[in-house]
Structure formats: structure tokens, C-alpha cells
């Protein structure tokens, strides 16, 4: 047992080691977060300086639910997440399984699938914009060659814009999810498969009874991060559709940005950010609880 002062000294050294990082986190993350929490109870145009700040209590939080733009963004956001996340996982797992077995050009294929994740959002938006062009775009030219007379208008159509944005979202995140699945697959002990083979299990059975259950923690992690990431979709919307046409692709993160920087309503915008945070927190909290339950079943 060390004397108390020695123990304290050791603690101090430890704290000093993490201090630089903590300082950055406190100044650039925690203080702004707290400030935005404060702002969410005010009405503030930041161009007016602090003298323009007005305390209005919970009004911002009530105003949200009467704001058609907010409600539309929220609705779009839910649809986006509910479709994008399962689709990504549905595509990423088989790709990871294939790439985990012996295939030719493994590294090249892996890189190609991962590429969209590290590409600049600006370039992605420009390229997809050209592809989606209704009259002479590559996609619609192809569809016309297939015999479709009236191909969709994609991001120039109020019905097709959201699916178009979802396609970009799925395409952009498959690579990242696939890498996580690949890592998860590496972590499954070989002897489980060997034992199953001895018992005469075929590959379908091995997949269903060994691979999928063993990937549960990975799947859970992927789901949580994907929900958080896709809820905050911003780059594609900002660069490609500006929430249009007619608000059909407006999402919360984009509307929060518009409210702050175009309408100069910082208080309202902060309130919406906090609403988004609380919503994600609750969703994630329940997933976490659910995960605990699954872990017990296993």
C-alpha cells in the first residue's frame, strides 16, 4: 500500500498527461456545447453581438413543433435513417463475407468499395449531380436505353429526390461498414468452424449459427454508429439538393444550419440541435439496453 501523498502524486502525473487533450476537448467541445444549451433558451442574432441576446425560456422548443419546415425535415430524416441503415448493413455483410474468403483482387475490390467513404463530399455531390441529371444524365440515358420511356427525375423530382439521396448515402457508407464487418469476422475463432465441420454442418448452417451470432457485438456497434451518422446527413444535402426540391430532402442538420446562418436565428437553431441530440441519445440508450438483454440470452 502506497502512502496517500505518493498515490496522489501518481494521480497528478496521470492527469497532467491527459491535460493537453482535455484542454482541447473542454475549449472546443464542452464549452461550445454548454453555450449552445444556453443559447437554446434565447433569441439571438449573432450579428448583433451579445446585446441582441434575449432570454425566452422554452419558447424555442415549443416553436419547433409548429414549424412546418422543422416537421418536414424531421420526417425526411426518419425516413432517410430507417431506409439507409438497414440497406447499408444488408449490402456490407455479404461483401465482407465474400472478401473474407479466398477471392482474386481482394485488396483492389476492398479499396474500390471503401473509396466513397474517403472521397470529398463536394466531388461526390458534383459527380452524382451529373449522373442524376434528368434529361441527359448517365443514369437516365441508361434507363432510356433499357426501354423506360419516363425515367424518374431523381433530385429534380419531389418524389424521387429522397430515394436519390438515400442511394448516395448507402453508396458512401458501405465501405466503412464492410471494413468493420471484416474486422469482426477476423475475430471469430477458427476452431468453432472446425468443430462444426466435425459435426457435419454445411456452410449455410455455419453462417447462421456461428458467423451471425458471433458478429452480434460488431453489428450492434455498426448500427449505433450508422444511426448517429446518418441522422446528421449534411454534406450531400448541402452540396447537392439544398433540401429541395420543395423541401423533399430537407434534413435536420441542414435545416439547423439554414436557421442559424441564413435566418440568423441562433437560439432556435441551438434548440433544434439539442432536440436532435436528445433524440439520438434516447434511441441509443434503448439500443444499449436491448443489447444487454441479447447478451444475456446468448
Amino acid at each position: 500500500m502506497l502512502p496517500w501523498y505518493n498515490k496522489n502524486k501518481e494521480q497528478l502525473t496521470g492527469y497532467l498527461f491527459i491535460l493537453p487533450n482535455m484542454l482541447g476537448l473542454i475549449c472546443l467541445t464542452f464549452i461550445p456545447i454548454l453555450f449552445s444549451a444556453f443559447l437554446s433558451f434565447t433569441e439571438w442574432n449573432f450579428l448583433g453581438g451579445f446585446k441582441a441576446l434575449k432570454w425566452i425560456g422554452l419558447d424555442n422548443y415549443f416553436a419547433m413543433f409548429e414549424d412546418p419546415w422543422f416537421l418536414k425535415s424531421l420526417r425526411n430524416n426518419f425516413i432517410y435513417v430507417a431506409i439507409t441503415v438497414p440497406l447499408i448493413m444488408l449490402f456490407a455483410l455479404p461483401i465482407a463475407l465474400i472478401l473474407n474468403s479466398k477471392v482474386y483482387w481482394k485488396n483492389l475490390i476492398r479499396m474500390m468499395i471503401f473509396m466513397p467513404y474517403v472521397s470529398s463530399a463536394v466531388i461526390v455531390a458534383v459527380v452524382w449531380g451529373l449522373l442524376y441529371r434528368p434529361s441527359e444524365g448517365l443514369i437516365n440515358s441508361f434507363l432510356r436505353d433499357l426501354g423506360l420511356v419516363n425515367p424518374p427525375g431523381w433530385i429534380a423530382s419531389t418524389t424521387w429526390a429522397l430515394p436519390a439521396v438515400i442511394i448516395i448515402g448507402v453508396w458512401g457508407l458501405i465501405g466503412y461498414t464492410m471494413i468493420l464487418y471484416l474486422a469482426g469476422l477476423q475475430g471469430i475463432p477458427r476452431d468453432l468452424y472446425e468443430a462444426a465441420e466435425v459435426d457435419g454442418a454445411n456452410s449455410m448452417k455455419k453462417l447462421l449459427y456461428i458467423t451471425v451470432p458471433m458478429l452480434r457485438p460488431t453489428t450492434f456497434f455498426i448500427m449505433v454508429t450508422l444511426i448517429i451518422t446518418t441522422f446528421q446527413v449534411f454534406g450531400t444535402i448541402f452540396m447537392l439538393t439544398q433540401g429541395g426540391p420543395a423541401g423533399s430532402t430537407s434534413m435536420l442538420a441542414y435545416y439547423i444550419y439554414i436557421t442559424a446562418f441564413n435566418f440568423h436565428k441562433f437560439g432556435y437553431s441551438s434548440a433544434m440541435s439539442w432536440f436532435l441530440f436528445l433524440m439520438l441519445f434516447i434511441v441509443t440508450f434503448f439500443q444499449w439496453r436491448q443489447q444487454k438483454k441479447w447478451a444475456n440470452d446468448f
Partner: protein
């Protein structure tokens, strides 16, 4: 215990991810201006923020000034004049950093900055120097806001339409007169539209993708001036008959005649208007400032003749407006440490210093600048590719310009009108329904801001 720790970590994770996406809004330290103080012969350094690409004039301007004024050295900082670029400028202005002079382009943004108190009033400088505004720019063109003058406009932005004159000759149509109407434009546009599919040529093209002001707004402005959103009593104007005319016209051009470059193609692929014009995909384009591209044969090769006309009016017999008019608002940042030097620069730039900008299609607001010289400088070496008569008439015409006076919820109304217009153009929502919903929603937005 472990469970709780996990929860805490999780919330940190969520927060961290959340903040990476939607913060950046709150991290303003209000620092002081970093420019040097003017002490006994020490070189003063000025930073000028402008939206014109450096190679389109500003570089030459800066070189000219720096050569003449060894004690005041200026540096040009370019911001892109869109939402993101203006946000960048706003942030710099508000934090008081690195801006001495800034050039604004959108009146609403300019007024917002004045309201916020980041713009230095120029009255003291003007009076101290007896700088004659009426003689230099015409007193009608200098806006007094709350009893102060906050900016000097360097450019006279005449809104105009570029027309491929060669195509006009091919179909045997004369060049319309300068007092033409939007209806005339629609008729002409229909006549100029030819071909099908990939070979289709459109009569008219408007940049729906990147301009902050929509086609409807321009048409409304030509009829009633810059406060087109509001009735005299402050309520929204969507119950006025001009909106109905405007929507009927746009709907006809876009959905019936198909004579305008399709809305969907413009917003998805964001084609460049000047490019489509020289590629002969569009016979008329909106925006006289595209002259600066059209005259650049290296990047925009073509061999047809271009004529220019001022934007049409809605009704021939009513008073019409050409637009905001005076442009390139030169203002001094309240936080600048070198305001006297900045004023010297503004004085020079808004008069004789503007010359290099004229080479790139900008029209000086300075009255002493000769029209023939403007045309000569504008067309440069390629006079044979321009209809000189129409240009001279365009630059010397008498226009009513209009300053926005009411700006209640204007940014919100801009978003609203775009949304409703898209419903009308893309989903065939009827004009009456569109206007009814515009009126209702606009009144609500105006009410919230009052």
C-alpha cells in the same frame, strides 16, 4: 458501475459525433484586428474582401494601388459570394479579424451587417474630404440608411439579357427594343427553341441553381421594385395580381412551351450559363455580367454575335425597375484599425481605380467614366463578336433602380418562394393554390418576425 461508465462514454461519443457535424457555429473568440497601426511612416496594410475572382480585375487594381501608394499596401482576399462565403465574411467581420474594407453584393446581407453594427458610417470621411457624391455618382444612387451613409457603390449593375444575335438573324427576327416585356421574351424564346433530345436548343436560360434571387423575384422586381414581397401595410403581397401574371408566364415557358432550359437539369447538373450560351444550347441567357465570360474566347470559344438588352418589364405602361442597381458596396469594417487609409482606398477605387474591373464586364458607377470607353473596355479585342449599338444603348440607358426598404423575414420568404415555385413547376400545383399557400405561409412568417 461498469454499466454507468458505459453510458457516460456513450453519451460522450454521441455528443462528439454530433458536434463535429453541427457545431463550428459557436467557436467565435472576439479577437482584435490584427492589422498594423499607422505610426510615423510605417507601412499600413489593408485587407480587402471581395467576391470577384482575383484574376478578373482585383489583382490589377491591387497592383496599381500598391505601386502608387508605397505607404498603404493592400491585399485582396476573395470570398465566394454565396451563402457559405458570406457566412465566412460575417464571421470574420464579427470577430473583428483581418477585414478592413469589404465589398458587399446583396442588399439584404448588407443591411443585416449594418443592423449588427459591424459597418463604419462614412459620413465623417465624406464631409471631411468634401467628396462630392452627387457629382461622382448621382445623389439618388447613394442610399441613406438611418441617417448615415454606410457604403459607396462602385458598380452600376444593370440587369440584362444576353442574346445570340446571329440566331435571331437566322430566324429573321429583329432585336427587340429596350422597353420589351417578359411576354415578348417568352414569345421570342419559343421561336428560338429548336431540336429535340440531346440536340435541343432552348430559347432562354435562367440560373435556378446558384442565384439567390429567383426568376419570379426578378420579374416582380421589374414591376414593383425591390420590396416586391410586401404590401403597403406590411403584409405579404402574394394577393397582388402581378404574382399571378409572373407564375402564368413562367409556367407557360417552362411547362407548356418548353422554351426555357429545364428546371430539373439546371438544379441537378448546375450547368454554367455562359458555357451553354457559347455552346449554342441557349439562345438568350439571364445576366449581363456573363459578358465577361462571353468576351473570353480562350475559355468560351464561339463565332456568333452577342447583343445585350436590359431586362424586360411586366407591363409596358407602368413604371419599371431595373434591379438593385448600384452594386459592389464598399464599406469599412467597424473593427478596422486603419480606417483613414481604408477611406483613401475607397475614394480611389470607386472613381479612377475601377478601370481594371471594367475590362471584365463591370460597369463603373462613376459618372465621369465615358460610355464609349466602357463599351471599348468591355468588348476588348473582340468587338466583331458584339452588337456595339445595343451595348452602347444598354450602358447609357436611363434606369430606375430600387433599394429594398422592408426586409422582414426576407431570407425565410426566399426559401418559401423557392419551395412553392418548385411545387408549381415540378408537380403542376395550380397557380391559385400556390398563391393561396404562399400568401398564408408568408403572412405567418412575417408575423413571427414582427
Amino acid at each position: 458501475m461498469k454499466k454507468r461508465l458505459g453510458l457516460v462514454l456513450l453519451s460522450v461519443l454521441v455528443m462528439a459525433m454530433l458536434t463535429t457535424a453541427c457545431s463550428g457555429s459557436n467557436g467565435n473568440d472576439s479577437g482584435n484586428a490584427t492589422t498594423n497601426k499607422n505610426n510615423n511612416g510605417e507601412v499600413v496594410r489593408l485587407k480587402i474582401w471581395g467576391g470577384t475572382p482575383e484574376e478578373n480585375g482585383p489583382k490589377q487594381v491591387v497592383e496599381n494601388w500598391n505601386a502608387q501608394n508605397p505607404n498603404i499596401q493592400v491585399e485582396y482576399v476573395r470570398f465566394v459570394n454565396d451563402d457559405a462565403g458570406n457566412t465566412k465574411l460575417d464571421t470574420a467581420l464579427y470577430s473583428g479579424k483581418d477585414v478592413d474594407i469589404f465589398i458587399g453584393y446583396t442588399p439584404t446581407l448588407r443591411n443585416k451587417r449594418i443592423d449588427a453594427g459591424v459597418v463604419e458610417p462614412l459620413d465623417a470621411y465624406i464631409n471631411g474630404d468634401s467628396f462630392d457624391l452627387d457629382k461622382n455618382f448621382g445623389s439618388d444612387n447613394i442610399e441613406v440608411i438611418d441617417d448615415h451613409i454606410y457604403y459607396i457603390p462602385a458598380q452600376k449593375a444593370i440587369d440584362g439579357i444576353l442574346i445570340n444575335k446571329t440566331m435571331l438573324d437566322e430566324i429573321g427576327e429583329p432585336l427587340p427594343s429596350a422597353d420589351w416585356t417578359w411576354g415578348d421574351l417568352a414569345d421570342l424564346s419559343k421561336k428560338l427553341t429548336t431540336g429535340e433530345g440531346a440536340n435541343k436548343r432552348y430559347g432562354f436560360m435562367f440560373d435556378y441553381a446558384t442565384t439567390t434571387i429567383s426568376f419570379e423575384q426578378y420579374m416582380a422586381m421589374s414591376e414593383v421594385g425591390a420590396d416586391y414581397y410586401y404590401n403597403a401595410d406590411g403584409s405579404s403581397s402574394f394577393d397582388q395580381s402581378y404574382w399571378k401574371e409572373i407564375y402564368a408566364l413562367h409556367q407557360r415557358m417552362q411547362n407548356v412551351d418548353g422554351s426555357v432550359y429545364p428546371y430539373g437539369d439546371v438544379v441537378t447538373a448546375k450547368p454554367s450559363l455562359a458555357q451553354e450560351f457559347v455552346n449554342e444550347k441557349a439562345a438568350m441567357i439571364f445576366g449581363s455580367f456573363h459578358i465577361r465570360s462571353v468576351k473570353d474566347l480562350e475559355n468560351y470559344p464561339h463565332d456568333f454575335v452577342t447583343a445585350v438588352l436590359p431586362i424586360p418589364t411586366l407591363n409596358k405602361d407602368t413604371k419599371s425597375y431595373n434591379g438593385f442597381g448600384m452594386q459592389d458596396f464598399l464599406s469599412i469594417s467597424k473593427n478596422s484599425q486603419n480606417k483613414d487609409a481604408a477611406w483613401e482606398f475607397i475614394k480611389w477605387y470607386s472613381t479612377e481605380g475601377y478601370s481594371p474591373m471594367v475590362d471584365f464586364g463591370r460597369v463603373p458607377s462613376w459618372k465621369d467614366y465615358d460610355v464609349t470607353k466602357i463599351v471599348e473596355q468591355t468588348v476588348g479585342e473582340n468587338a466583331h463578336l458584339f452588337d456595339i449599338d445595343s451595348m452602347k444603348a444598354f450602358y447609357s440607358g436611363n434606369y430606375n433602380f430600387s433599394f429594398p426598404k422592408n426586409n422582414t423575414a426576407r431570407s425565410e420568404l426566399d426559401k418559401l418562394i423557392k419551395e412553392e415555385t418548385e411545387q408549381l413547376i415540378l408537380n403542376d400545383k395550380s397557380i391559385d393554390d400556390t398563391l393561396a399557400s404562399l400568401k398564408e405561409r408568408a403572412d405567418k412568417l412575417i408575423g413571427e418576425r414582427k
